[in-house]
Amino acid sequence: MSEKNIVNLVDTLCRASSNKYVDFGAINVWPETLEGQWCMSPELLSVWGTETYERLNLEERKRLSFYEAVNFFCLNIHGEKPLVKGLVERLYTYDDEDVSKYLHYFLDEENKHLAYFGTFCRKYAGKIYDDKKIEFPQDRDTLETDFLFFVKVQIFEEIVDVYNTRMAADERLAPIARAINKAHHIDETRHLAFGRRYSEILFSRWSAGVSSERKQAMRDYLAKYLLVTWKEYYRSEVYEDAGLVSGVGPATDLANELFLAESQISLRREVSENCVRNLMLAGILDRQPEME
């Protein structure tokens, strides 16, 4: 993708965002309770394919699916909050003026997603799980900071979008859970189209000025970042809230055990396939990252 081509892409995405504009109020049927309903597809649960899943009865599986959906939506909240902040910081600070034009749409849509996710978690779980990812400021130049910002967003959104797509189509799920996943997927399709191309351009600009060792260190870092992103899908509080275990120690042990389960390693590999392929096509990654 040449740098010139992104101007055309940005124009297309701006038109598409404008044509598909949806107000926050479009999702306006919030049932009083989700008791006894699937909120996450069983095949996407962090216990799928494990002995723990087999041990649970239908009611327990559905209760776990509710808390896993809350965790999934909270991950989105914690992924999108720095995204919104980062997009605001980048408005009108770019040489790429056409890109700034699209950032307005991006920002508007992310704000609405936050509202959907936040409403669901507060209304039905009465809480927002906190962000477990810890990142402290590092001494990086602007180009590297911008590349990392967009590529991390891409990694996060690529994984989320697989979940959104599958759950939007899953008729077993509570309608509100499907509606949120569908609304998110529709916007994310455009964000991903932009993010993939823009990450590629920024990587190309950044990598032109660094040593091959530095480039390799960045690749290693991103491979680890993908794995850390996945760790958050195995949140110990979820297992406590769903009543699978009691106490921080046993819940942490269960989270670690599930993360290492063969079926879950396969699930992560399968869900990450698009993400990894796109990063490799852009030259950002040069090999399949570890999934455990």
Partner: protein, 84 residues
Amino acid sequence: MVEHEVKEQLREWIATTNGSIQPHEISDDLALLTKNIISSLQLMELVQLIEKLSGNRVSVERLKPENFNTLAMIYQSFFVQQAS
């Protein structure tokens, strides 16, 4: 769990995670972050271990790098203050 047991488990985890340092080489005041013994990407797992050893949830939103920079600071931040 008493102080030396907690620190021993933390040393084991740090050594295993780093791969090129031995537990006995990790003194209480070794600078873990600034000397890249552990990276920011590994902190989520470290917090998970801290939660397991302390039996308390850690709220990460207000944490600072100083909380993790040495074994002594980790113990002080998450075990002494939690107990008091």
